[in-house]
C-alpha cells in the first residue's frame, strides 16, 4: 500500500501516484498522458456525456469513461489499446454524423477541440451518406450569445456552468433524444452577466459570440496579456487584435483572481476601444466650436493659460480631477504634475461628498491587527460579512466566489439597505448596519476564518465609529489572526489612485502632507465644484473622468460653467469633454503599458496590444509633455520608468517592477 490517502496505479505502463478520489482522466493529465474529452471541465461537475474519454481497465469487461471513474489501488489502465482506439473512433464518428462540416465558416474553426480531437483520433473520412440534419440558425439566445443547433454535441458544459457557477438557471436542455437542444425558456433571454463564459466553455462552435461573429479567424489574431479595466476585480484577460483593432477578449486564468471566468462587461466591453466616439486629435474651443490643433499648440495653450491663472489668482485656483479608470502610472504623474508643476494640493478622483478622512479611516481599520483579505480567502472563509457592498453590481467575479462559498455552507451575512442578488444566498440578512455587525459577531464566533468586506458607502457613513468599535471587538476576539478584511471600492484602480496620492490630504504611499513641507490640504472633489461655483476655483484639469456621469450632474454642469479653463484628457468624447476648452486625446488601456491595483490590492501589469489610435498618447506621456512646457523634465521614457519611480517613493510598493510583478501580479499589504 502507498502512503496515506495516495493511490498507485499504472496508466499505459507508467506508474502514477495520485490522491484517492482523483479520476483516471485527471491522474493521466497530471502525468502528461493525453486522453481526449469534450464534456469534462476541471471547474465543472462531471457528466460523462461525450464518451470520448473511454479507457480500458484491466479486469473490467467494458470500457469506462475515465472522467467519471475514480482511481483505485493497483489499477491497470490502457488509453491506447486497440479496443480503446476503435471505440474512440466510433464515438467520434457518431458525434460527427450530427455535426456539419462547416469548419471554414465556423468561428470556432482553428481553436476547436472537436476539430483537433477528430484530426488526432477520429476517422479520416465519413461513412455517413444520408442527408445531415438542418436547423434554423443562428438561434439568438441572449444579447451576446448565438446558438448553432447543428453544431451542438450536447456536452452539458454550458448548462452546468449556468447552474453551478453563475447560479442563473437560464440555459437548459430541452426535449429528448434526437431533438435535444440547448435552450432558454420562452421569453427569458440568456442575459446573465456571465453568459460570455459559455462561449469559451463550448467545445464546438455551437455557442458563439455575437460581437465577434465572423470578425476574424482565430489564427489571425495577436494576443496580448492585459487586465480587464471595467471593475476592481482586475480579472486577467487576453486582448486579441488584428490590424490595430481589438476584436475580442478571452480570459487568462489566474487562480488568485478570476479562476478563469469573466463577466460580460469584461468580455464584451472592448468595443469602446475602436469606437467612433474616440478623440483622435487635440481639440481647442475657438468661438464656441472645437477645432483640431497640433499637440504643440494645445500644450502651449494649456501651459500659457495655467500660468496666467496662477499669476492672477494663485495656484490654489486650479484643481485636478483624476480617475479610478487610470493606471497607477497616470495617477502618480497626475499628482506629481499638480503638486510640483502647478503647485496645488487640489487633487482628487472622487466627486461624491466624502467624510474628510477616508484614507485615515482605511488606515485605521488596517492598523487594528486584522489582515487584508485576498480573493482566495473567500474560498475557505467560514463566515463572511458583506457590509453595504454589492459585488454583483461592482465586482461580478467576486460574486461568483461568494456564491461558491455560500454553496459550501459558509455563513454569509448580508447587510444592505436594499435587497441584492447575494441576499438569496445569505444565511442572515440585515438592513441596519449596527444590527448586522452585532449579528455577525454573534454568529461567526465559532468560525475558523472570518472575512469582512466593506462597501464604499460604509466609509463615509455615520456608522464609522461603530464600525471601528466592532472591528476592535473582532480583533480582540481573534487572537489567532484569522479575521480578514477588505474594502471594496468602485472603479478599476480606486485602490491604486489612493495609493498614488490622488487625494488632497495625503502624499503617495499615505505619507502625510507635512513631509513635503510645502502646503496644507487641498480641496476634495466636491469641494472643488463648490469652489468653482463661488468663484474661488478658476480652472479644472480632468484626466480620464467623465464627471458628468455622476448623479448630481446639473450641479456639476453649473460648476463647470463658472470656470475659466477646463482641460479634459480622455479617450472618448464624453459629456464632460464636450464642455471642455481643451481636449487632449488619451490612449485606452489597450494601446499602452501600465499597472492596475485591484480590490485585494494586487498590482497587475498590462501591455500594449495595438498602436495608439489617431494622435492619442498615454495619459502619463501627455502629462510628461505638458510638464516640459513648464520646463520640468520628468525624465521618463516608458510607463515602466514611472513604475520604477513609484517603487522608490511609495514604501509599501518597494521592489515593485515589471519583472517582480510577474504574470500573476503581486499583492501588497498596507504599511
Amino acid at each position: 500500500m502507498g502512503e496515506e490517502g495516495l493511490v498507485r496505479l499504472k496508466i499505459d505502463g507508467k506508474e502514477v501516484t495520485v490522491p484517492r478520489g482523483t479520476s483516471i482522466l485527471e491522474a493521466a493529465k497530471r502525468d502528461g498522458i493525453e486522453i481526449p474529452y469534450f464534456c469534462y471541465h476541471p471547474r465543472l461537475s462531471l457528466v460523462g456525456a461525450c464518451r470520448v474519454c473511454v479507457v480500458e481497465i484491466e479486469g473490467s469487461g467494458k470500457l469506462q469513461t475515465s472522467c467519471t471513474t475514480p482511481v483505485a489501488e493497483g489499477m491497470i489502465v490502457r488509453t491506447n489499446s486497440e479496443k480503446v482506439v476503435k471505440a474512440r473512433k466510433g464515438v467520434l464518428e457518431l458525434i460527427l454524423t450530427n455535426h456539419p462540416l462547416d469548419c471554414p465558416v465556423c468561428d470556432k474553426g482553428g481553436e476547436c477541440p472537436l476539430q483537433n480531437i477528430t484530426y488526432k483520433y477520429g476517422p479520416a473520412v465519413t461513412r455517413y451518406k444520408e442527408e445531415r440534419r438542418r436547423f434554423e440558425k443562428p438561434v439568438v439566445l441572449g444579447p451576446y450569445i448565438l446558438l448553432d443547433r447543428e453544431r451542438c454535441i450536447l456536452c452539458y458544459r454550458c448548462t452546468h456552468f449556468c447552474e453551478e457557477i453563475a447560479g442563473h438557471h437560464q440555459l437548459g436542455m430541452l426535449y429528448i433524444g434526437g431533438h435535444m437542444m440547448v435552450g432558454i425558456a420562452p421569453g427569458v433571454p440568456f442575459d446573465s452577466q456571465f453568459s460570455g463564459n459559455t462561449i469559451e466553455l463550448c467545445p464546438v462552435g455551437a455557442l458563439t459570440s455575437h460581437p465577434f461573429r465572423f470578425k476574424a479567424r482565430p489564427w489571425e489574431l495577436k494576443g496580448t496579456d492585459s487586465i480587464c479595466p471595467h471593475c476592481a476585480c482586475g480579472c486577467n484577460i487576453i486582448l486579441q487584435s488584428r490590424d490595430s483593432r481589438v476584436l475580442r477578449v478571452l480570459s487568462r486564468e489566474n487562480q488568485e483572481v478570476d479562476n478563469g471566468w469573466l463577466c460580460d462587461r469584461g468580455r464584451f466591453g472592448y468595443l469602446f476601444i475602436n469606437s467612433s466616439e474616440r478623440v483622435m486629435t487635440p481639440l481647442i474651443r475657438k468661438n464656441g466650436n472645437l477645432v483640431q490643433v497640433s499637440w504643440k499648440d494645445a500644450l502651449g495653450f494649456i501651459a500659457q493659460r495655467i500660468k496666467e491663472i496662477t499669476s492672477n489668482w494663485g495656484a490654489d485656483s486650479i484643481g485636478g480631477i483624476a480617475s479610478y479608470n487610470c493606471s497607477n502610472e497616470d495617477n502618480y504623474i497626475f499628482q506629481r504634475f499638480m503638486r510640483v508643476v502647478v503647485g496645488t494640493n487640489n487633487i482628487d478622483f472622487r466627486l461624491y461628498p466624502v467624510e474628510t478622512d477616508v484614507v485615515g479611516f482605511i488606515l485605521e481599520v488596517f492598523s487594528k491587527g486584522l489582515r487584508l483579505f485576498s480573493l482566495r480567502d473567500i474560498d475557505d472563509a467560514e463566515a463572511i460579512l458583506l457590509l453595504e457592498s454589492d459585488p454583483s453590481e461592482g465586482q461580478p467575479i467576486t460574486e461568483l466566489r461568494l456564491k461558491k462559498a455560500a454553496r459550501r455552507n459558509a455563513i454569509l451575512t448580508v447587510v444592505n439597505s436594499k435587497k441584492i442578488e447575494l441576499s438569496s444566498y445569505a444565511r442572515y440578512s440585515f438592513a441596519d448596519i449596527s444590527e448586522g455587525i452585532n449579528g455577525f459577531i454573534d454568529t461567526s464566533a465559532k468560525a475558523k476564518k472570518r472575512l469582512i468586506l466593506l462597501g464604499e458607502k460604509t466609509l463615509g457613513t455615520h456608522n464609522r465609529r461603530e464600525l471601528l468599535e466592532a472591528i476592535d471587538l473582532l480583533s480582540a476576539k481573534d487572537p489567532r489572526g484569522k479575521t480578514y478584511i477588505g474594502v471594496l471600492l468602485k472603479g478599476v484602480n480606486a485602490h491604486g489612485a489612493l495609493d498614488m496620492g490622488v487625494v488632497p490630504d495625503y502624499l503617495p504611499g499615505y505619507r502625510p502632507l507635512s513631509e513635503s513641507g510645502k502646503f496644507g490640504a487641498g480641496l476634495f472633489g466636491w469641494q472643488m465644484l463648490d469652489a468653482a461655483r463661488n468663484g474661488r476655483l478658476k480652472a479644472l484639469y480632468i484626466m480620464g473622468a467623465d464627471i458628468l456621469s455622476a448623479q448630481d450632474s446639473d450641479y456639476i454642469k453649473d460648476a463647470l460653467r463658472h470656470l475659466e479653463l477646463i482641460v479634459v484628457q480622455d479617450s472618448t468624447m464624453t459629456e464632460t469633454a464636450l464642455r471642455a476648452d481643451v481636449i487632449l486625446p488619451a490612449s485606452t488601456f489597450a494601446e499602452r503599458d501600465g499597472t492596475f491595483t485591484n480590490t485585494e490590492r494586487r498590482v497587475q501589469r498590462f501591455y500594449r496590444a495595438i498602436r495608439p489610435l489617431g494622435e492619442s498618447r498615454p495619459n502619463w506621456e501627455i502629462l510628461y509633455m505638458l510638464a516640459k512646457e513648464f520646463h520640468h523634465d520628468f525624465n521618463y521614457r516608458s510607463a515602466w520608468d514611472v513604475l520604477k519611480e513609484i517603487s522608490q517613493i511609495v514604501p509599501f510598493y518597494a521592489d515593485m517592477s515589471r519583472e517582480t510583478l510577474g504574470d500573476k501580479g503581486r499583492q501588497w499589504q498596507y504599511g
Partner: protein, 140 residues
C-alpha cells in the same frame, strides 16, 4: 579550325532560313500551357452568388502573406454568398504574390482560381492591391 568555324556558321545559316522561335509579342500571342498560373479571379456560382465564403484559408495558406480577407454576415436584402458568411473585403497584393497557387488549393469552395492573364503592369503601386471589384468575375 576552319572546319569548326564552318560547323558553327552552318547552325547560324540553318536558323536564318528556318521559322523563328520567338514571336512578335504583343501582336502575336502564344498559347499557354493548361496549368499556367497567373492572375486570380474570384468565381461565382451559376446563380450569380459569390463562391467565396470569407473563410481566410487562402490567406492562411499563402506563403507570401499577400491575401487579406475580412468576413461579414449575409443579411436580409444584402446576400452575397449562399451561406451565412461572405467576404466583405478580399485583397491580394499582386506585388507580393508569387503565383504558387496554394490559395486555389486551400479554397474549400473553388472560389479563388489562378487564370492565364499575365499582363499585370500598372503605373501606381497602389493599383497592385487587387480588391474584390477587380477580382470578382462580373455577375449577372
Amino acid at each position: 579550325m576552319v572546319k569548326e568555324l564552318l560547323k558553327a556558321f552552318r547552325v547560324t545559316l540553318r536558323y536564318l532560313v528556318s521559322k523563328p522561335i520567338t514571336i512578335r509579342y504583343p501582336e502575336e500571342r502564344r498559347e499557354q500551357y493548361p496549368r499556367t498560373r497567373w492572375r486570380h479571379v474570384l468565381r461565382r456560382y451559376d446563380n450569380g452568388l459569390e463562391r467565396c465564403i470569407g473563410c481566410s484559408l487562402c490567406a492562411a495558406a499563402c506563403p507570401a502573406h499577400c491575401i487579406y480577407v475580412e468576413a461579414d454576415e449575409n443579411r436580409e436584402g444584402a446576400r452575397f454568398s449562399s451561406g451565412e458568411r461572405y467576404a466583405k473585403v478580399y485583397e491580394i497584393n499582386m506585388l507580393r504574390c508569387i503565383f504558387c497557387g496554394y490559395c486555389q488549393e486551400a479554397c474549400p469552395t473553388d472560389a479563388i482560381v489562378l487564370q492565364k492573364d499575365f499582363e499585370l503592369s500598372n503605373y501606381d503601386r497602389k493599383d497592385f492591391i487587387y480588391n474584390k471589384d477587380k477580382l470578382l468575375v462580373p455577375g449577372h
